[in-house]
Subunit: 374 residues, 2 copies
Amino acid sequence: MAKRDRRFFKDNFPALRNSMYLNTGSEGLIPRETYKQINKLIKRNFKYGGSHPHFYDMVNFNFSKIPHYLKLLGVDPEKQIRVSSVSEGLNFCFNMLSNNNIKKILLLKDEFKTGILASYAFAEKNKAKLIWADDLDDYYKRLKTDKPDIAIMSHVDYRDGKDNNIERFYSECKKNNVFFIVDGAQAIGNLFIRFPQEIHADLYVWTTHKWLCSPRGLGFINVSQRIKDSIGPLGYHYFATEVFRPPEIKIIDSMDSMSVHAANFIGEIGFVSSMRFLDKKIGIDNILKINEDNKNYFYKVAEKNSIKVEVSDTNLLSIKVDEPEKVVEAMLRRKILIRSIPDTEYIRVSIHLYNNKKDIDVFFKNLNQILGEK
Amino acid sequence: MAKRDRRFFKDNFPALRNSMYLNTGSEGLIPRETYKQINKLIKRNFKYGGSHPHFYDMVNFNFSKIPHYLKLLGVDPEKQIRVSSVSEGLNFCFNMLSNNNIKKILLLKDEFKTGILASYAFAEKNKAKLIWADDLDDYYKRLKTDKPDIAIMSHVDYRDGKDNNIERFYSECKKNNVFFIVDGAQAIGNLFIRFPQEIHADLYVWTTHKWLCSPRGLGFINVSQRIKDSIGPLGYHYFATEVFRPPEIKIIDSMDSMSVHAANFIGEIGFVSSMRFLDKKIGIDNILKINEDNKNYFYKVAEKNSIKVEVSDTNLLSIKVDEPEKVVEAMLRRKILIRSIPDTEYIRVSIHLYNNKKDIDVFFKNLNQILGEK
């Protein structure tokens, strides 16, 4: 870590020069290298046109690297469905399952908006019933008693950073023939950096733009073997329309197919570039260690200041305050970027690898001042 | 048009300095102003972070302009569902209709890949049957005789630029209670620049990245009144998950909701910027006139050169040649960008407002040389 000091991070993430960024869980910072690559892509589009071979040279080169980085993160490229966002991914999950006569969907009460919205949309269209579990134990119980067809939850609770420990739920789902959908938006790069050998969900949606320092625009659905068996071959570059492939259609596995189906290539180019940065400049196995050090220090300083930080399994850290929106605003005036959690009395801080002890000291110093003023 | 001469277009579309761009139907060129705006957006993301208010200032400002430009194009912002691509849009159309007990889908044989793929995907999932019409008259007949639940076609045939004259089909669809889905990818900015008062489809999917000089990443589904009545209120900024809104969910109509659901904002920023360019610098009502002049000149020079150009209702112009791929490659070596049409013996030229008579002269001169060499 000798060379990865404060200067290194400020040089590589210029946003740190303009504010103290403690809000990675909403949107991670983009490294300089990634910014340059996206710029280059847009410049090529501008200079040559978006269907010119010089433009596609760059697109194809970057796409060819995606499987490598997927493998580095521990997922099988052949089991990923490419989506543009977690929201699109969750909707797609429901649509994939729509021919399975879905009558009941199990959710965790007040949990996560994106999953709830996708569930509502599906329930509304398909006259399915939503079942709300009060808490995780109730959820576990209802998997057996309420016989849902789909169970959906997030891997990490975005409000307090707690690990929902999806393993036991998936194991119960498999016993009861329930499709288990997991929103993993806050897990990769935060709870873990390499996926475990077994991913405990039938459909596990994850994104690259929070904890992997990528721009918005690229996410994936990891499908379980039983889902994969039912939908046929997949490739990381296949889109919605190409998942179900009847024999009459020529398999489109050249890069040409991307040009038809991709929204734009910012997500992909950004992911490859940011992963290269994380891999070469930080070392992806150092990320969780850096984050753990930051987190431990955060709890230590909080204790010294007699501020209670909720228990968390990740680097999403929440603190109960009066009028959280006002605290967030006051912090922003001091150029410290955090967020509030809607309908709760919590502010949430998410510390990533580019933060350091000084950031944490400054955060608490300012929080004390703001709370003292009120 | 005095000031909008060759220099004006070369200054505003630098891609024209590097190649003769006669392939707008695949991907239109981005004006300098749009390039600058996208650059600015990415720079802000890089400089402040993607959840910083300074970043969202720009996003919000641009989003607030979208309804204005939708109205300028003749569509009702309240009837648009925002999608990222025509492919996503077509899949979404099928998903919207999936609770209507769809058993039969009518398609036009060999027509358009994106629509065919979406239909296949839906048919595969929902055990629906695909019915293939041999030609437009057969399609019209089958609307009555085959009793499909969904009929799908493109507004303009991407291969030869012919107007499929959707009006009579929609009128027949309404009589027979068929949902009519239209892929309008090649229509806006090419067949028309302002939508007609009545849009002849239940679900009309269109995109901004071909003939409206925008980058990839933004398209819309225009929904008919009968569809709108069945799905409730819509806004141009609503996404898949937010189309079906039960009363339990607070209506999310602030710009905040974009940050959750948008892939990235390139499509939106690009659309607003390119529309501003078309509106202020060209005048959107001049576009079709410029294109018609170009087209007339194209036919004239073709005739002089004894080259047969197929009849077309738009600026998608096709010419039968031996080995079209080789012609495309030879043209590219001469820095002239056109395309071939898969599984046919045609090359396709699509001339947009930034092309002029000289481009057309150069095209035919080179085509003659290439055909002569073979």
